[in-house]
Subunit: 198 residues, 2 copies
DNA sequence: TACTTTTGCTAACACTGTTAGAAAAAATAA
DNA sequence: TTATTTTTTCTAACAGTGTTAGCAAAAGTA
């Protein structure tokens, strides 16, 4: 009986179309404008149908948060893959992080709860662990090579904080050339950060 | 005719009670729970009265953002006042910033649009300029003393970014001892940051 | 064809910010 | 004091929001 399979397939098609429609809306009008009723209209179903696929609106945002971190992890993984020196890897991570935040504006906004009621969602995202490990590996290598006594977790936090802070502050900036400025700040920070670990 | 004066006084009493009621609600239930109707109920007026004092809900949030930056600026000014060495001042600023974010959780959340639809409000806050100047002064002094060629604006951004990132990332952390960790990260960063400017 | 299950819809609840227009209160003028 | 004008404040409504209960229709099974 392939009928059960078809039902599952159709179910997942609807689920995909929900996320699809939601994403289109976010791209056009931002997270604020996203509403269950508008998604329903876009997929040509009534609003309650959405609750057969997602527990609530939060769950939809959670799914996008997860996807965002997946994309970010892939970006970073790809950036460090061709490099072997931990210093170079750290620099590559920083640039990949910034590039992701600029390229995938909406994703980043949601992931870090900037102007959204999805702030508590992040810590429940499993992909965050992968992200940590991705940064931790080169930091551990550098800590091992260093003459100083260095805590890789501490450095992970410092690096991550500055990267995220850089994006956040840059986003609320007034000037038009925020991108160039953030590029320079990043370059400057990375230099000091790596020098501080040697 | 003291009657006009009394009217103005009464008007401002109502305005103050709006902000008062709003703040109490935020302290108890967070920014998400703040609603015009609930404020109206608390001050024992009908909802439209609020629009005689504030253009819209955003304007109320804007006012709190302004107040938040005032408080932060005062905190920082008080912290650097007894110190003369720019290095010490920068360190004091960093600790004052962190202390403010921890002590005035809700203020900080609003000021930087964490989980709130008041993200665009920040750049319209005049007090932000004072804040910049407060950090810029010791950074300029250090840049002048340094053998290197240092851009104080660049360093301002780096410092601010890391401070804000530190708070943000720490807030979405899972562990209970986030405060101790952020304290250590801050200490570590300040060391590297100041060393990098000498 | 009759029965059962799944699916999807309408209608409603309890909210939200915001505005128009009427009613009540207060201040001014006669 | 009475009449008029101005100011203040309210009720009611509009257009939304997320979410749920319960019914009708479609689809699958016997």
């Amino acid at each position: 009986m392939g009928i059960a399979e078809r039902k599952i397939r159709q179910r997942e098609e609807v689920k995909a179309s929900i996320l699809n429609a939601a994403w289109k809306m976010v791209e056009k009008e931002g997270w604020q404008a996203l509403s269950i009723r508008k998604i329903a209209e876009a997929i040509e179903y009534s609003a309650p149908v959405i609750y057969d696929h997602f527990e609530n609106k939060e769950a939809i945002l959670q799914e996008f948060t997860r996807r965002g971190f997946c994309l970010l992890n892939e970006s970073i993984a790809a950036a460090i893959a061709p490099l072997s020196l931990p210093e170079q890897q750290i620099e590559a991570i920083a640039h990949a992080y910034r590039a992701f935040a600029i390229e995938h504006r909406e994703y980043y906004q949601l992931m870090y709860g900037l102007g959204m009621p999805g702030c508590d969602t992040v810590k429940q995202t499993a992909e965050l662990h992968t992200f940590s490990q991705l940064l931790l590996t080169p930091l551990r290598q550098m800590a091992a090579q260093s003459t100083k006594s260095i805590d890789p977790y501490l450095k992970l936090r410092t690096l991550w904080s500055t990267l995220h802070g850089l994006i956040s502050i840059s986003r609320m900036g007034e000037t038009d050339h925020e991108d160039e400025l953030s590029e320079m700040v990043l370059q400057d920070f990375i230099g000091v950060f790596i020098a501080g670990m040697r």
